[in-house]
Every structure is written in structure tokens, then in C-alpha cells.
């Protein structure tokens, strides 16, 4: 059994870790997710060989990442997060009383070569790290849920409206941060 885990870790450990890190952007959370995946994999005996071990393990990892996210949401009720954010007026700073943009969005100068692309992604990474953790994770994990919103809400036990508000705030934060920090080359 431990042999199995050893093999899995040798063959797929780095891949699973990168998959988790790409979405959690936190080394400890990513390690936890891989550990939970191995514990679940060894118990399930579910590997039938009709898919590759990597595909099978990645499927388990996705569930474990959602579990981790759900736990985070339980520890701090979502209402706290929303209230907390509502009291900070950063969103109101973007629009005037009649709902018009105060600071009109500009088009991004998207990178047009490999070097710029690298710089751009590193700016984006920095912007992601500035977001509150929960907003970052709900935004980055969108692609591991069965993609539609109903599922995200069911899996996280939050209302659709709350999910939309959080995703909106994540996007507003990121685009503002990119506008400020990415001027193009």
C-alpha cells in the first residue's frame, strides 16, 4: 500500500502539486491538498485502470481542493467576508453616486512577445496575492467545479448571489491592480 503511494508520489506528485499550486497559490495549502488526495486514494481502492492513474488522482485532488475551500468558508462565515468588504469603500470609489465610472477603464496593452508575456504574468501573480485569500481561491477554483455556478454554490454551501458578489470583487480588484501595475512595455 505504502508502495503504491510512493510510486504515485514519484510519478505524479509534482504534477498534482503544480495543479493545486496553480489554483491555490499557497505552498502549504497545495501540500495539504496533495496529502489529502493520497490518503483518499489509498482508501478508495478505486483505481480501475480504465483511466490513467494521473487522471484518477487529479479527479480526487479536485474534490479535495473543493473540500479545503468549503472548510475555509465554514471557518469564516461568508456574511462576515461580505460585510467586511462592504464596510471598505473601495468599490464605491470606482463609481459616483449615479453609478458612473469615476476612473474609466482603459484597454490593457496586452503583451506581444514572450518576454513581455512573462512580465505580465508575474504582475498578475502579484495582483492575485494581494486579493483576500477567499476571493482568490473562489476565483481560481472556478475551473475545477463542474463549471456552472449552481455547482459552486452547492459545493461551497453559499448562495449564488454571494458567489457572484465575490467573483465580481475578485475581478474588480484584479483589473484595477493590473491597470496600476501593468503599463505594457
Amino acid at each position: 500500500m505504502a508502495d503504491n503511494v510512493n510510486n504515485w508520489l514519484n510519478d505524479h506528485g509534482d504534477y498534482l502539486y503544480r495543479f493545486a499550486f496553480a489554483r491555490l497559490r499557497d505552498t502549504h495549502l497545495a501540500e495539504d491538498a496533495v496529502q489529502e488526495t493520497m490518503l483518499a486514494a489509498i482508501k478508495s481502492n478505486g483505481f480501475k485502470g480504465d483511466s490513467s492513474a494521473r487522471t484518477w488522482l487529479t479527479g480526487i485532488l479536485k474534490h479535495k481542493m473543493i473540500d479545503l475551500q468549503r472548510k475555509q468558508f465554514r471557518e469564516q462565515p461568508i456574511s462576515d467576508l461580505i460585510d467586511l468588504d462592504a464596510s471598505d469603500t473601495s468599490m464605491d470609489d470606482l463609481f459616483n453616486q449615479s453609478g458612473r465610472w469615476l476612473d474609466k477603464p482603459q484597454t490593457f496593452n496586452m503583451p506581444d512577445n514572450a518576454l513581455e508575456q512573462k512580465q505580465f504574468l508575474s504582475v498578475l501573480d502579484g495582483c492575485l496575492n494581494k486579493l483576500p485569500k477567499k476571493l482568490r481561491v473562489i476565483f481560481l477554483l472556478r475551473d475545477v467545479h463542474e463549471s456552472d455556478n449552481e455547482n459552486i454554490c452547492k459545493e461551497l454551501d453559499i448562495s449564488a448571489t454571494n458567489a457572484w458578489v465575490m467573483l465580481y470583487r475578485a475581478r474588480m480588484g484584479l483589473r484595477k491592480c493590473l491597470e496600476l501595475n501593468w503599463t505594457g512595455a
Binding site: M1, A2, V5, N6, L9, G13, D14, Y15, L16, Y17, R18, F19, F21, A22, R23, T27, E31, V34, Q35, M38, L39, I42, L94, F95, S98, G99, R100, W101, K104, P105, Q106, T107, F108, M110, Q117, F120, L121, L124, D125, L128, F139, L140, R142, D143, D148, N149, A160, A163, W164, L167, Y168, R171, M172, L174, R175, L178, E179
Partner: protein, 85 residues
């Protein structure tokens, strides 16, 4: 008429849920007339693409590896788990 603030919320939600017919029409008309919201919509599309690129880049980055001590910790956790059964 929806304000830019409301439109910006719709633009964001259009990436998370199917909009209703009337929402789609209002969004389309507004964006035709309003540069700021058109840029905003473009920004969110670019953001989605960039996020996907960042994930792809992470997946290809061979220097990102499961740390050795994490691996040891996992194997220990499995041993412990086995004993507890």
C-alpha cells in the same frame, strides 16, 4: 436604464451564469454607447485568458515541485492512518 455600475456587475456575471434575454439586450446596447464599459468587458475577457495562461505556465514550470519534506510528511501520515484503522 442601467448604470455603469450595474452593467459592470452584469458583465462579471455573464462569465458565471447565462444572462436573461433582456439582460443581454441591455448589456449589448450599453456597451455600444459606453467606451468605459466596453473597455471593462474587454479587460475581464483578457483577465480570463491571462489567468488560464498563468495556470498553464505553472503546470509547465519544472522548478515547482512537491517539496521532499512534504513527501516525507505524507508518507508518515499514511503510516499513522493505517495504524489508526
Amino acid at each position: 436604464m442601467l448604470t455603469c455600475k450595474q452593467i459592470s456587475q452584469l458583465v462579471s456575471q455573464s462569465l458565471d451564469r447565462p444572462l436573461s434575454w433582456s439582460e443581454r439586450v441591455q448589456l449589448k446596447l450599453h456597451v455600444l454607447m459606453c467606451n468605459a464599459c466596453r473597455h471593462f468587458k474587454h479587460q475581464l475577457n483578457q483577465l480570463d485568458i491571462a489567468i488560464q495562461q498563468l495556470k498553464n505556465e505553472t503546470m509547465l514550470d519544472q522548478t515547482i515541485q512537491l517539496p521532499i519534506d512534504a513527501k516525507t510528511k505524507i508518507l508518515q501520515a499514511i503510516e499513522l492512518d493505517k495504524k489508526s484503522i
